[in-house]
């Protein structure tokens, strides 16, 4: 019975005039277009992007202070910007994201052991953000550091991912 129905259907389809077939296709196209518009609309609402980003604080430009205020080999936390400003032994600056690369917990700078530690699953990172203890798979993310007239600023708008530390990530005075 089904077979018969199908045969009838195909015969009907074959007998459609080209104009009718074209118009039918147009309906499908219009429907698809409407669906795409709807999806675009929904995406615009669930991903407002820049509009929701604050201009100040995290996501914007953070002014850290005079470069001379940060001694070599120290780490300063910037709660507001969700990052640590790390001054390397050679005097270069590195702004490290406080998010552990394992599952996104907040790492803590341990002054005594001189390393970042993740309280969630015991990952550890050194001053440059390189992994010294697993399970973290790669070095801490970092932000662009800018030094102008010896004032240090960090752009928290764009986070940069990396496998491991390399010298070109450092901003020198």
């Amino acid at each position: 019975m089904f077979k018969k129905k199908n045969q009838m259907k195909t015969r009907e389809a074959a007998s459609l005039t080209p104009r009718r077939r074209f118009l039918n296709m147009l309906w499908w196209l219009l429907g698809g277009l409407a669906l795409a518009e709807l999806i675009g609309l929904v995406i615009a609402f669930i991903k407002p992007g820049k509009a929701m980003q604050p201009l100040e604080g995290y996501g914007g430009l953070i002014t850290c202070g005079q470069a001379a205020d940060f001694p070599a080999g120290t780490v300063t936390a910037f709660q507001r910007g969700h990052f640590y400003l790390s001054r390397l032994e050679n005097g270069g600056f590195l702004a490290l994201s406080r998010k552990c690369t394992h599952l996104g917990c907040t790492v803590i700078w341990d002054e005594e052991k001189s390393r970042f530690e993740c309280p969630c699953h015991a990952s550890a990172f050194n001053l440059m953000g390189d992994v010294i203890s697993k399970p973290a798979p790669r070095a801490l993310d970092y932000y662009a550091v800018n030094i102008e007239n010896s004032v240090v600023t960090v752009d928290t708008g764009k986070k940069m991912k990396r496998q491991r530390f390399s010298a070109d990530q450092v901003t020198a005075i």
Partner: protein
């Protein structure tokens, strides 16, 4: 036909209104016979007039589907109450929870009922899925209803997950951070998906608002629609699965009226479930930690318990496998369960056969042993993540351990199949049992046997 209906009803106003509400009740010959009256009302349209006698036996289904329905109704009710006072903004959410608990009469209790119903629901649905599988309720004509059931399960899990964030305490914040953090490991799409779910790079105001909207509007609507579809397919398949009989005996099958035999049993189950949840919620409070502090991670931080098996897997196997390959293969396999070529599509009998039952016991034992051996072996004897530095991590800590484990499991299952000279139904059932028990063992390990730094520890230790 027309002559049977009384053309107009005379009498007092209230009586006439009452009769107009109960449509059909004024049909001749139906009054006083609920067996004939019930199928005519909308509420009982979901039910046939009579069902096979086996179908109403409690131990045939354990009433699990009905229990799930009752819990969902409890969740809708308490959820609506909570929605009237909850504020989905990071600086107000936690305080509104405190307000619900301390200021509103019975607020604490209502939140407890919502919390415990949601958690019990996941367990009940898991058991319901096992009941359907082990009584062969996924064979023709119920094949697609298994898939619908899986979608429902997914929606309920999503509800639990989105609801988990709303209290905005440390527990909520970090559990959601961690589980969305796992998405980072999905190649290509993961980062984008994570940004959409979080509404940004971190869990923040956008995430809370999104989770709230999805939790209180999108998912309940989805559950209603897919749920009705699920029930309708049950009805169309002729009710729950019962043992097949030859066609000539089908007419002589002993049947029993839905009212009162089935409905009264369901009412009893529903009342017991409601009573249990209400009393349980009066005695035990839903957890509420300190207010969320994005700068302070707890040690250890764990995902919500129904996803915690994946977190345990992540400790052992390379992320590409533990958060992508294995979950995708397993859930894909679950969806395809009804579409495997089986030796027989006999349903309605627990565990298919005596042979299947005995094989199942071996499969349970093997799954517990293999999984425990894998976890302990990784912890104390051989750490794949560091032992093979010459191999790329995807191979050394991903492909290699996965191949070794599945290889061992496959050899065992083949041997089991030969030993019992099993047919394909029994073999698939053993594999299914193995995988289910494996996930349960992973869940229990991470939930109760992982302490500080996610190291193995006894649950009764510090």
């Amino acid at each position: 036909m027309k002559s049977k209906i009384t053309p107009s009803v005379a009498g007092p106003l209230f009586k006439r209104i009452g009769q107009s509400v109960r449509r059909g009740s004024n049909r001749a010959g139906t009054s006083g016979d609920p067996g004939k009256y019930l199928p005519k009302t909308m509420l009982f349209h979901f039910r046939p007039r009579r069902v096979p006698e086996e179908a109403v036996r409690f131990t045939h289904t354990w009433g699990l589907g009905g229990m799930a329905f009752v819990l969902i109704m409890l969740l809708f009710g308490t959820g609506l109450l909570l929605k009237l006072v909850y504020k989905p903004f990071p600086d107000m959410a936690y305080d509104s929870i405190l307000m619900i608990q301390h200021e509103i009469r019975f607020g604490l209790w209502v939140r407890n009922v919502h919390h415990w119903s949601a958690n019990i629901l996941v367990i009940i649905l898991f058991l319901h899925m096992q009941r359907v599988f082990f009584t062969g309720g996924f064979h023709h004509p119920r094949q697609f209803n298994w898939v619908i059931g899986m979608v429902l399960f997914l929606l309920i899990l999503a509800s639990n997950f989105t609801g988990y964030l709303l209290p905005w305490d440390q527990l909520a914040y970090w559990a959601i951070t961690i589980s969305t953090g796992m998405l980072d490991y999905v190649p290509f799409l993961g980062g984008w998906l994570q940004a959409v779910i979080r509404g940004g790079t971190e869990i923040g105001p956008a995430s809370l608002l999104l989770f709230f909207a999805v939790h209180t509007a999108v998912l309940p609507a989805g559950i209603c629609m897919v749920g009705l579809f699920h029930f309708w397919r049950v009805r169309k398949a002729g009710g729950v699965v019962v043992p097949l009989v030859p066609d000539e005996e089908e007419a002589e099958r002993r049947r029993t009226p839905v009212f009162p035999d089935l409905l009264l049993r369901e009412l009893v189950v529903a009342l017991v479930v409601v009573a249990f949840v209400l009393i349980f919620s009066a005695l035990i409070n839903a957890p509420l930690d300190m207010k969320a502090n994005p700068g302070l991670s707890p040690n250890p931080a764990k995902a919500p318990w129904f996803f915690i098996g994946l977190q345990e897997l992540l400790l052992h196997v390379h992320p590409v496998f533990s958060v992508l390959v294995i979950p995708v293969l397993l859930s894909g396999g679950l969806l395809l369960v009804p579409y495997i070529n089986y030796a027989s599509n006999r349903g309605g009998i627990w565990f298919y056969s005596e042979n299947g039952r005995r094989m199942g016991i071996y499969a349970v034992a093997a799954a517990v042993l293999f999984t425990a051996a894998g976890i302990l072996g990784d912890a104390f004897f051989f750490d794949f993540t560091t032992a093979l530095p010459m191999l790329p991590p995807v191979v050394g800590s991903g492909l290699l351990p996965v191949i070794i484990f599945t290889g061992a499991a496959a050899v065992f299952l083949m041997a089991l199949k030969r030993r019992f000279s099993a047919d394909s139904n029994e073999a698939v059932q053993s594999l299914y049992i193995f995988l289910m028990v494996m996930y349960v063992v992973l869940t229990i390990t991470c939930l109760w046997f992982r302490g500080t730094d996610m190291a193995l520890a006894w649950p009764w230790g510090k």
